[in-house]
Subunit: 371 residues, 2 copies
């Protein structure tokens, strides 16, 4: 194998595939990048047995071939070389020789035949999205994904395509995040639960542009396909929550509130409610709604805290306890200036909704307050 | 105690003193800030029994008094309040009440009489410097301070005032950093060894401006004094290295080299010489100097690396082994475009010097290379 690459192109390719490199593994080959030439381009592949990433980039192929090299070492050396053409050759001792101006590096390689093959995906259903749309849908739901491994299905986001809408839903038993997007063209209805870990990596690789991304699913796998880059991942197996049935549609108490002001109140009060001294215990904050006013308060060994904020109120007065972090997580990803928050009784879930439309819903379960 | 402060002033004061708060301690009061009113200002004090910091800031004092409050909690709450006036009151239950618009926080306090007193310093000698000069002198030497506690004197920087020059010197047994600065006015000769930890904190507090800072020393203590802020620290006790006698003045081999190019070579080659796989062992790199050319190379299990760089050479050819990190640390803080590096034999120290003058010297001991 002998190739000549522009550093910039090669770095872009490495940065895309490096997210698929295993970090803690007993199989050293999973810490590597597979490099394969193909006429006038090279394909880089990484695969940690959960997520596999392929990236194709143009380069001058002088002699065809393939090899496997440690990803971190290869990445760091290329990154630190000057911004110019880099000569990469597999020599007769199976060392990968990297030459650039006065620099000469020789890295140990592994046998490309031993690199695990990415799963072949038989796409049954697919949708096309702009990358920035997918990025936003991931950002607005992924924080609600469960980190508890005892219910694996909830460690992923539901992607549900139904009546030409894409619904992305995450839930962890204490709160639920739901974001909706209309699709441009008519597609079959289907659904798949994609691991949160994969979506985090996909989110880092896709760009905040109108460039297209295709999401295809087979029975057990999903494929994210961009111009030069493919990401494959397994799907989570099991029955996801029937989310439509659990989000309340009615309310007893509704407030209309400035999102930024409310977020700042929760950020401050979280300092007390989750203070270092008390970090082992979960102290809820108390929400009191009276005409025109929301009061958030909490008391513990660190001190007392009270936040008052003017809001528009409808319906009954209310007192209920909540984990402020769940409100904060949702408020952080909402871009609207004002929002509705709906409450039932003090033991019913609370729902954050947009003032207009129903683009998103965040449901948060209450915590019983000790008196 | 009752005061009204502008958030901005208060935050500046807190950010300055917070570096003196103890992080790991069995004495909770050392994690606190002492707040004392004084006519139309307040003084904040922190003291971890090594470094003590005082900061005075203007504020509206409605009722005189003093209190002690957890530093992190106080800092975080003030930081997150709106940019406006903040009311702070010590109430009759000894809670510190912080009020700002709709926010009300009450924090537990401790008895100010129990806060340890900062050492009184009887200044015997002092110098005045611009803060940016001190910042530069710290930055250019502190990396060479020893982190080994078995020779405590080398965990600090020598500040030596001699013939109206300030010399700052750090040494760790493998390399030495030395930076010189002429003083504006005539002062007594004296010297003191200031703990590296203190200098790191001083460096964070002082600004990159021409504002003045006075460094005063007594027998066992040093005082850094700025307009609103004082920092006291203990001095290290013992005999510092007689650095003048150990830095060679002559050379057998001299190179004149572009600093940035050389730094980039060392950065790349360090990837191999200190690669993850080999991280337990110290692999030196080999420097070869031949007419007009410096070659840096190393070989280990990860791979081979060779860097060639064009340099101006004088004197003999040379082959010697070095830890590339020691070169990198020095090169990173040098601002000159070109430098001299002088060598004796392959077992003599190497010295980095400026092309003009003798503002700084970095001495690096060689490592014997296994053949």
């Amino acid at each position: 194998m002998k190739i000549v690459c522009e550093k910039e192109n090669l770095m872009k390719a490495i940065n895309s595939v490096i997210k698929g490199v295993a970090s803690k593994t007993t199989m050293p080959i999973l810490e590597c990048i597979l490099i394969q030439t193909n006429d006038d381009n090279i394909k880089l592949t990484t695969y940690d047995l959960e997520i596999g990433i392929e990236y194709i980039t143009k380069c001058n192929v002088i002699q065809q071939g393939s090899t496997v090299v440690n990803a971190i070492m290869f990445c760091e050396i290329i990154k630190k070389l000057p911004d110019t053409e880099i000569n990469i050759t597999l020599n007769d001792k199976n060392l990968l020789v990297i030459e650039c101006e006065g620099s000469l590096y020789k890295l140990a390689t592994m046998n490309p035949n031993e690199f695990p093959e990415l799963p072949k995906i038989n796409i049954e259903n697919s949708i096309d999205l702009e990358q920035k749309t997918l990025k936003e849908m991931i950002r607005k739901t992924i924080f609600a994904v469960s980190i508890e491994e005892n219910r694996p299905i909830f460690t992923g986001c539901l992607f549900e395509i139904n009546e030409n809408k894409l619904n992305v839903v995450a839930v962890d038993g204490f709160r639920l995040g739901w974001k909706k997007n209309f699709l441009d063209k008519s597609v079959n209805s289907f659904s798949a639960v994609i691991p949160g870990k994969t979506l985090n990596e996909v989110n880092k690789i896709i760009s905040d542009t109108f460039d297209n991304i295709k999401i295809g699913v087979s029975k057990n796998q999903a494929l994210f396909e961009m111009e030069n880059c493919k990401i494959v991942t397994r799907l989570l197996d099991g029955e996801f929550l029937n989310y439509n049935n659990v989000i309340p549609d009615t309310w007893e108490t509704r407030i209309k509130v400035n999102k930024k002001e409310l977020q700042e109140c929760f950020e401050r009060i979280s300092l007390i409610s989750s203070s270092a001294i008390e970090k082992e215990k979960k102290y809820p904050v108390k929400l009191n709604i009276d005409i025109g006013k929301l009061t958030i308060s909490c008391t513990n060994q660190t001190g007392d805290a009270k936040e008052e904020i003017f809001v528009e109120t409808e319906g009954k007065n209310l007192e209920a306890g909540f984990n402020p972090r769940y409100f904060l997580d949702a408020l952080k990803v909402i871009d609207d200036e004002e929002i509705y928050i709906d409450f039932g009784s003090s033991i019913s879930p609370s729902v954050i909704r947009p003032i207009d439309g129903d683009d998103y819903k965040y449901m948060i379960l209450p915590i019983r307050i000790k008196e």
